[in-house]
């Protein structure tokens, strides 16, 4: 390596070494190399983990999606895995369900936390208690929370919690997970309950950064509560709203444990199959890791498309 050939200039005695970040111009090459090596030595552990468990699998997933391994022999098969995965009868339902879930989750799981945060921000009492309550479900292991919904809330008989409430209100009861139409809404309700705490806290933090004078001025101009939300609160939290929208889309694309536990996988008439569940099915049940890798690449491309649209939309607003 080149480093060994660099001559070391002895440091002048008595002259204090300079701070790393503000190096004077007369630093010797040897010192520079040594500083860099120290810096990289501190980085190496994390970088290695990224290389092995993130960056390399990224590339490998793409390569795998064009290969087929049979009896230890790997051959290049072009787009075969892709055509096989697209031909799976669950492929389109899985995408449909995932998008449906994303849309529902954007309406419920995205708007509700924002309004809950606005509401909590107005209260001067019981704030801490309410914040703890909202965040409590986030701390449950997801399997625990989902079994709770599966066994109690979504019990299709009248003993189920939701059906008992509906019956008390004289509303028609539902079959919940046994009914293909209710599967997705039921999964979104469970998922929102489980996950909204994090979003509420993030919104609360950004609501607290809004200068009070803005509301003051809006009020003097005669703006009512809704117009104040529309013209002050939303524009002032635009960045964080946009960021969480993107994160929400990435998160909902991974819909997996909800169908697995609530619907035992595919659900009634494939109404619960998600893309992530299909990846799991192909990869770990049908022993078709290459097909699963191809589906992963398709998911990545779809998400990249989302990101591109998102970047354009947010760039336009500025």
């Amino acid at each position: 390596m080149a480093i060994t050939t660099v001559p070391e200039t002895p440091r002048k005695p008595g002259r204090p070494p300079s701070p790393y970040s503000a190096r004077p111009q007369r630093t010797s090459l040897g010192r520079k190399v040594r500083d860099n090596l120290t810096g990289h030595a501190f980085l190496i552990g994390a970088v290695l983990c990224f290389v092995v468990f993130s960056w390399y699998p990224m590339v490998r997933g793409i390569v795998m999606s064009f290969q087929r391994t049979r009896r230890g022999e790997t051959t290049w098969v072009g787009w075969d895995n892709y055509s096989r995965i697209i031909a799976d009868p669950s492929f389109w339902p899985a995408w449909q369900n995932t998008f449906y879930f994303t849309v529902l989750a954007l309406v419920l799981g995205y708007a509700v936390p924002f309004f809950v945060a606005i509401l909590l921000n107005e209260f001067r009492h019981a704030k801490g208690y309410l914040r703890i309550l909202v965040y409590l479900p986030v701390m449950l292991p997801p399997a625990s929370a989902l079994f709770l919904f599966k066994f109690y809330a979504y019990d299709p008989s009248e003993a189920g919690l939701f059906n008992a409430i509906l019956k008390a209100l004289h509303l028609p009861t539902s079959q919940w997970m046994q009914s293909p139409e209710m599967t997705m809404p039921a999964m979104v309700i469970a998922s929102t309950w489980m996950n909204m705490g994090g979003a509420v806290l993030i919104y609360l933090a950004s609501l607290q950064n809004i200068p009070g004078e803005l509301y003051e001025a809006a009020e003097l101009d005669g703006a009512g509560i809704w117009r104040r939300i529309r013209h002050v609160t939303i524009p002032q939290t635009r960045l964080i709203l946009a960021l969480l929208a993107m994160l929400q889309i990435v998160a909902t694309m991974q819909l997996f444990i909800e169908p697995l536990i609530l619907a035992n996988g595919a659900g009634a008439e494939d109404s619960a199959t998600s893309v992530a569940y299909l990846i799991y099915q192909h990869g770990f049940f049908q022993n078709d890791l290459n097909g699963a890798a191809a589906l992963g690449v398709i998911m990545l491309v779809v998400l990249a498309g989302f990101s591109a649209v998102y970047v354009r939309l947010t760039a336009k607003q500025d």
Binding site: Y20, Y56, V134, L136, F149, A159, A164, M299
Partner: protein, 295 residues
């Protein structure tokens, strides 16, 4: 955050403390407190008491609010039949290891990126942050293939705790959080330490880390909850019943176990994280908001 009653929000303080505003405020507060208690605490109550009910009582219409004939046996069965002690120990062990690995490697990396700033540091940081946009599901298959046969060294990590610990180190969010915190530590402190002849490691240990306790706490809590909440990855890389985590264990048993016992097991599995949360909730709240972007 509870003390900020002086700052102006959507509705002015004066409006809320006078006449009609005051009535509406207290009514709304009462409704929200009651509603939230019902929505967020209610199901937990249902879960804890439901696990005490007998099979018949659970299937009864209308459902009972209190268990008529409490059966603590369900909890005992859950503890014994599912070997919950072993499952909880495994999960705890993985969580502690995850904290240590992340603290050591992610702190060192963030320190390097923030203070030592070696060549290509920004490129490395950008590549790390890029992984935030890739959902775990996209990588699950190639990551699994990598873990069962690590490149170059050809080691199989199945059933080894390293299969959980090492991938968690590749956590761009933590590194970003730590780097932002280190960035806020004045450069002069670094210069002074260097003047005194401290090595970078010494500076990290004696100056940066003591100042960074809050953020280190946050990263630790995130690491614990990540292990506690993860499902698919431990399910894949810990296939043996002896190495399972608690979430996976409950799922694996759910098929052939009575439902109240499964619920009892779920309650027991939830207790440790809920306790951790109640103890550290202040740190968690501030940690979540420290990572947020100003809107």
């Amino acid at each position: 955050m509870a003390q900020d009653s002086g700052t102006r929000t959507l509705i002015s303080h004066a409006q809320l403390s006078r006449g009609r505003g005051r009535v509406i405020y207290w009514t709304l507060l009462a409704v929200v407190v009651a509603g939230f208690t019902l929505v967020f605490l209610g199901p937990l109550y249902w879960m804890v008491t439901g696990a005490l009910k007998s099979g018949q009582e659970i299937a009864q219409t209308p459902p009972t609010l209190f268990p008529k004939d409490p059966q603590p046996q369900n909890y005992i069965d859950a503890w014994n039949n599912l070997a919950l002690a072993k499952l909880l120990f495994n999960t705890f062990y993985y969580a502690v290891g995850a904290v240590l690995f992340q603290l050591v490697f992610d702190t060192a990396a963030a320190y390097s990126l923030s203070k030592l700033r070696p060549m290509f540091g920004n490129v490395i940081l950008a590549l790390m942050l890029g992984t935030l946009m890739i959902p775990a599901m996209v990588l699950i298959v190639p990551q699994y293939v990598t873990v069962i046969d690590l490149p170059i060294v050809h080691i199989n990590l199945l059933d080894s705790p390293f299969a959980i610990w090492l991938p968690l180190v590749a956590n761009a969010f933590n590194i970003f959080l730590l780097k932002r915190f280190f960035d806020s530590i004045p450069e002069e402190l670094m210069a002074a330490a260097l003047m005194d002849g401290a090595t970078p490691l010494r500076t990290l240990w004696s100056i940066i880390l003591p100042l960074s306790r809050p953020i280190l706490g946050v990263v630790s809590i995130f690491a614990v909850t990540a292990v506690w909440k993860d499902f698919l990855w431990p399910k894949l890389v810990m296939p043996s019943p002896e190495t399972r985590t608690v979430s996976v264990g409950i799922y694996a048993f759910a098929g052939g176990t009575p439902m109240n016992v499964v619920i009892a097991a779920s309650v027991i599995a939830a207790i440790p994280t809920v306790i951790i949360f109640l103890i550290f909730q202040r740190n968690i709240m501030s940690g979540l908001t420290a990572g947020s972007v100003k809107g």
